[in-house]
Amino acid sequence: MIDQLLASVTDGMLVGVVYGLAAMGLTLIFGVMNVINLAHGPIMALGMFTVYLAYTSLGLNPFLGLLLAAGLGLILGVIIYWGAVHRVIDAPHLSSLLSTFSVNMIIIGIGTAIFSTSFRNVDYSLGIVTIGPITVPGTRFTSALLALGITGLLYLFLYRTRPGKYVRAVSDNRTSAGLMGIASNRVLALSFGLGTMLAALAGGLIAMALPFTILSGGSYELKSFVIVVLGGLGNPIGALLGGVILGLIEGLVPVFTKITWVPVIEFVLFVLILLVRPQGLFGAKQ
């Protein structure tokens, strides 16, 4: 039993860190501009396909493919911001929801036409990591480490660089930031791009361990919503911790009951957090 618990905790944490990275993108965008990006899932799927195509067509190591995914995610995010979000950013929430949902449908439509909905695998191995009773594929282990590294870089960007300070300033008070000479719109576009870049990176990391289709982002987007509520809306570090909690639930619940109860427990927890601690376990943006 102890062995199973250890293995389950390890698997849960490894996948949870990657979930957290994905949710961080969602919560960053919400925290800065109060926009819920419903194109988050398809952008994750594009990250998966970028790594896949870089590996299968260009022969690039999947970890180098991640750099492409990051670049694509950033550029795509900026384009989406200027094309679909900027004009509705001050409109009622429903406008930005519908706008990003439209982007979602466009990406899925084009992606389905190009890639179909058939499963793909990035058939890349980094061997096996074995520690006592715990055995995990090297790609999962490395993906989790990279997700932690990317989180650290995001933290450094937000708290140790001038553009990061601009992002935080705009997040705190867009009007005041503008009065201080910060080009708010550019910062908003950059923030949206950073959010989608994180989504694409998370998608790329997932693609290295698990099969996927162009529709696969949807399930991870749902998980991201649960995670941002767990971690606190607009709190990127909370999102990482929320991801780990969700991963642990997915790892540990099957130890004690049938695996089909996992989503039930996840979403009951989601409702409970909303009712009991709406600011999330680690505090939301005020």
Binding site: M1, D3, Q4, A7, S8, D11, G12, V15, F30, N34, I36, L38, H93, L97, M105, I108, T112, S116, T117, S118, F119, D123, I128, T130, T135, V136, P137, A209, L210, P211, F212, L215, S216, G218, S219, E221, L222, F225, V226, V228, V229, L233, E250, G251, V253, P254, V255, K258, I259, T260, V262, F270, L274, P278
Partner: protein, 444 residues
């Protein structure tokens, strides 16, 4: 709090959208007509003046293919097999009925996207707008169940292939006929093999995809194994969309089984096998549904070694016209070698049982039409009920009673296992039944 309310609303909408996966039905985009030739109106007959004039008629067979979605691999092979049958029969001049009518066959198909809702929409179109004379099922029990409702509603004869669930044939349908061995018999042979080849194995973990077919197989094999005295240490299903089996595999390891039985379809089965190897699961026997007999399963490399799978047919199977004659059963169609060579020539790969099933669906339908002597649905149904046929695929006979009308009663499974030959290449060996063995089974 307002934000959270909005977020909760969004999540609810997302969940509803996810439940409607597949989204709005797009217009049918891949309609294809695979007719070999357009039939001429009449052809000359050199018989006596009293013989009926030879007429030609085109028979339209409707079906859907999963060109996209999770059943893509199996469905593509199934359609390849069916297309090969149609090409061969048309190239040979068609099928001549006793009244001299020469039938040629044409196919009409759409992409069902591996989606049940699409299947119902498209089979309705095939039966009405397209005017299909007969139907062939899509791949998978779930999709076939959906199409069976439509076939029955419009009184069409439908031959099902790639669909093993028993339940479909217990709904009172009168025109749906199964060429696969039913799910209830799918994995029982694996238990028989364990009893013969691994007498020390006592504990089984049965894990299965939560769909109609796989659940039916799992429940049947559980009852069968318990009846033989095995202890079922784990019996659990997983969601059809599962891609990460790590939590599940941890649970299997904890139960310390001697064998793992179950799985579902190609995608989840091959992913499961890959992750069992990645986590170095030390269980000597693994038998999974559907995926292992597929030639592309070998792409898993070492993860495929030792994995066993039930197959409706394998190229090594040697059913012959002579053996059929000795048993007093009618033989029809090519030999296994002829089919295998023709398939290889057409598609450049060895046929899997899904391909053989597609071919046989066409062959069985043609035999019934020939025996009926017409395209009349009632006459063809009667001929299907009375069919007792031996082919390269094996024996075929349908239940004609009302309780399970159309259920396959004549066909049996074989079990294959991926092993390495002397050169280290992956090869697929038949390991059960013992009489048909090409190699002894190995442990993982």
């Amino acid at each position: 709090m307002k934000r959270l309310t909005i977020l909760a609303s969004v999540l609810l909408i997302m969940a509803l959208l996810a439940a409607c996966a597949g989204g709005p039905a797009a217009p049918a985009s891949t309609g294809s007509d695979t007719s070999a030739d357009t039939a001429s109106d009449t052809t000359a007959d050199t018989g006596s003046s009293e013989a009926p004039a030879t007429t030609a008629q085109e028979v339209l067979i409707g079906y859907t293919a999963s060109n996209t979605g999770k059943y893509n691999v199996e469905s593509s092979r199934q359609v390849n097999g069916f297309d090969l049958w149609m090409k061969q029969v048309n190239d040979a001049g068609g099928l001549t009925l006793p009244d001299g009518t020469v039938l040629t066959f044409a196919g009409k198909s759409y992409d069902d996207e591996s989606n049940t809702d699409r299947v119902q929409e498209l089979y309705t179109r095939l039966a009405t707008e397209d005017g299909a004379n007969f139907l062939i099922s899509p791949y998978s029990s779930g999709l076939t169940s959906a199409s069976s409702v439509i076939a029955e509603q419009y009184g069409k004869v439908m031959v099902t292939t790639g669909a093993a669930s028993d339940d479909t044939y217990k709904q009172g349908y009168t025109g749906v006929y199964q060429v696969y061995t039913p799910a209830s018999k799918y994995l029982t042979g694996a238990v028989d093999m364990l009893k013969a080849d691994a007498p020390d194995a006592k504990k089984l973990a049965i894990v299965h995809e939560n769909d109609k077919f796989s659940t039916g197989v799992a429940e049947s094999v559980k009852a069968y194994a318990e009846g033989l005295g095995y202890e079922i240490v784990l019996f659990e299903g997983y969601d059809s969309a599962t891609t990460d089996f790590a939590p599940f595999i941890n649970k299997i390891q904890q139960s310390e089984p001697d064998a793992i039985l179950g799985g579902g379809h190609f995608q989840d089965g091959s992913t499961f096998a890959r992750q069992l190897a990645e986590k170095q699961v030390d269980v000597p026997w693994v038998a999974l549904l559907v995926a292992p007999p597929e030639p592309t399963f070998a792409e898993l490399g070492d993860a495929a070694v030792g994995v066993i799978g039930p197959s409706q047919w394998e190229p090594q199977a040697k059913f012959t016209a002579e053996a059929a004659a000795a048993d007093g059963i009618t033989w029809a169609g090519p030999t296994g070698d002829e089919f295998g060579q023709a398939y290889m020539d057409a598609y450049g790969e060895e046929p899997s049982y899904h391909a053989a099933g597609g071919y046989i669906a066409g062959l069985v339908l043609a035999e019934a039409i020939k025996n009926a002597g017409s395209l009349d649905d009632a006459a063809v149904k009667k001929a299907m009920d009375e069919l007792d046929l031996m082919t390269f695929y094996g024996h075929l006979q349908f239940e004609s009673g009302a309780d399970a009308h159309g259920l396959q009663t004549g066909h049996d499974m074989v079990f294959v296992q991926w092993q390495k030959d002397a050169d280290g290449n992956l090869v697929k060996e038949v390991v059960w039944p013992a009489a048909g063995r090409t190699a002894d089974p190995i442990t993982r």
